[in-house]
């Protein structure tokens, strides 16, 4: 295990540097332009609620941008390495499959963390220039977004190992992300439904990670990310990782 740690680190750093070189800054430019444009519009429309609108719009945009890029990376990374036969070179060396997968996941999360940090900085400076301070629970909102990304990126790695293309992985993961945000509403509907229908809906809910647990961006300071939310995030991430490892172990490389 101790010997594998440098392997995980080098795969992670390699994956991170690959991501950073890959249209990374174009996305930042798009984000910056959209944020500035939205701030001008918000100033005209929201009047005295401009600070709130700017904060909400920025946080939503940060999450969507980071999600899009992280999913794009996670869904194409393993497929690309299999297509270019790079993965054969990696596994011809003493690289355990679990370490390779862990490295890939850590690289993706490192990229996501950097994206979140840079975009948050951009967003906060925009707020500052418009005369506003740091919004309430801003750090927690970013942390919640990071947890959501962790759950969904590991799920995307899992899906990418059985789906036929990067697009289908992207679509399936995006659907899971959407369902994850619907989970609380679906639970409400399940509790309202009686009999078999309610039971089936309740059982189905166990298959969907409840991303609202981490959605501080939406619920604000009212939602505290406590130990149970952290445990859920870790458990769902680990579960997808183990599932992906199971699929990877069945493949002939």
């Amino acid at each position: 295990m101790r010997r594998a740690a440098p392997v995980v680190l080098s795969v992670a750093l390699n994956s991170f540097s690959e991501s950073v070189r890959n249209r990374f800054f174009t996305l930042f430019a798009v984000f910056a332009f959209t944020a500035v444009y939205a701030s001008v519009l918000a100033g005209v429309m929201a009047v005295d609620q401009e600070a709130r609108l700017l904060a909400d719009f920025g946080l939503a945009l940060i999450e969507l941008t980071a999600l899009a890029y992280a999913l794009f990376g996670a869904s194409s990374s393993l497929l690309r390495e299999a297509e270019t036969k790079t993965i054969y070179l990696v596994f011809s060396r003493p690289v355990p499959r679990w370490a390779y997968l862990a490295g890939k996941f850590c690289g993706s999360m490192l990229t996501a963390a950097l994206m979140l940090a840079v975009m948050a900085l951009l967003h906060l400076s925009l707020l500052y220039f418009r005369g506003f301070g740091v919004p309430e629970a801003y750090g927690w909102a970013l942390f919640g977004t990071f947890l959501k990304l962790s759950v969904i990126v590991s799920f995307a790695f899992f899906v990418s190992l059985f789906s036929t293309s990067a697009v289908s992985t992207l679509v399936i993961s995006a659907i899971m992300w959407t369902l994850g945000h619907f989970a609380s509403e679906a639970r409400f509907l399940a509790e309202q439904s009686a009999g078999l229908k309610g039971f089936l809906l309740g059982a189905l809910l166990w298959l969907v990670p409840n991303l609202q647990l981490f959605n501080v961006r939406d619920a604000g300071a009212a939602l505290a990310i406590g130990p149970s939310a952290l445990f859920s995030a870790a458990a769902w991430t680990l579960s997808s990782y183990l599932g992906a490892l199971w699929l990877l172990s069945r493949k002939e490389f």
Binding site: Q49, D56, H181, A219, A229, W246
Partner: protein, 251 residues
């Protein structure tokens, strides 16, 4: 590498543990069954739920509400050339008259309550929107019953929101024709950063009416310094100029 079967079993176990830990969580938001979105807003509400962006969509609904209330509402004949900006009526002899009654310019805004309520249905914690809606209904549109309805809905999901209770009390005093008590009741709200500028304007007006010019001037000065709404800022500056010229003539 552990056996493949163990990996799969561990994956299921982890997923189940995550779901179990999350099962106690209940959404703080009003349930979807309470969302009474107008037809053209239903897709937006779906998106709000799907993207976990209730706050952002509540903001957009609030902007729509302000635009709706900000747009002048007039009957169709008021837009005819030569008669812009006012309504008409026909007397017993069949003669048409231009109407300039006390409600002129106030409008009916029949969708105001459903739109204001919808902001809270999407995000109940948006107290500034609740206050704006209730104050507009009670004091701008003279529909206190609808304002109370809106505040009751807001209090259902935010029972500790003292600002709603304060406005409820102010509506009560307003019904009892006691403007000084209304001004006193809403005074603590004015210090809140979420206080709608309209409420500040109302407080200043009530203080002026009650003869407390110092309090009115302080509120107008606050509006002029903090509001981003140009119309209110201009009005506040105008009022402040009036106060200073009045004070100058007394000297």
């Amino acid at each position: 590498m552990p056996p493949r079967g163990a990996l799969l079993a561990a994956a299921f176990l982890c997923w189940g543990a995550g779901a179990y830990a999350a099962s106690a969580y209940r959404s703080p938001f009003p349930p979807p069954s309470e969302m009474r979105a107008p037809l053209e807003g239903a897709a937006g509400d779906m998106l709000a739920l799907a993207a976990g962006a209730r706050r952002l969509f509540a903001d957009l609904w609030f902007v729509r509400l302000m635009q709706y209330y900000g747009a002048r509402e007039m009957p169709a004949e008021a837009e005819q050339p030569g008669h812009e900006g006012h309504a008409h009526s026909v007397d017993g002899l069949g003669h048409a008259h231009c109407d300039h009654d006390e409600n002129y310019g106030k409008g009916r805004y029949p969708l105001f309550l459903p739109m204001a309520r919808h902001v809270l249905e999407v995000d109940h914690s948006f107290a500034a929107a609740g206050l704006y809606g209730a104050v507009s209904l009670a004091f701008g549109l003279n529909r206190p019953a609808e304002a109370e309805q809106l505040l009751a809905y807001g209090l259902k999901y935010s029972p500790r929101e003292w600002k709603y209770l304060t406005v409820l009390a102010a509506i009560g005093y307003s019904k009892a024709q006691d403007p000084a008590a209304v001004a006193r009741t809403i005074a603590p709200l004015l210090k809140d950063p979420d206080c709608p500028v309209m409420l500040k304007q109302l407080a200043a007006f009530l203080n002026k009416k009650a003869g407390d010019y110092a309090a009115a001037a302080a509120i107008y000065a606050d509006i002029a310094a903090t509001s981003r709404d140009e119309a209110y800022v201009k009005n506040a500056r105008r009022e402040l100029e009036k106060f200073s010229s009045r004070a100058g003539s007394r000297r």
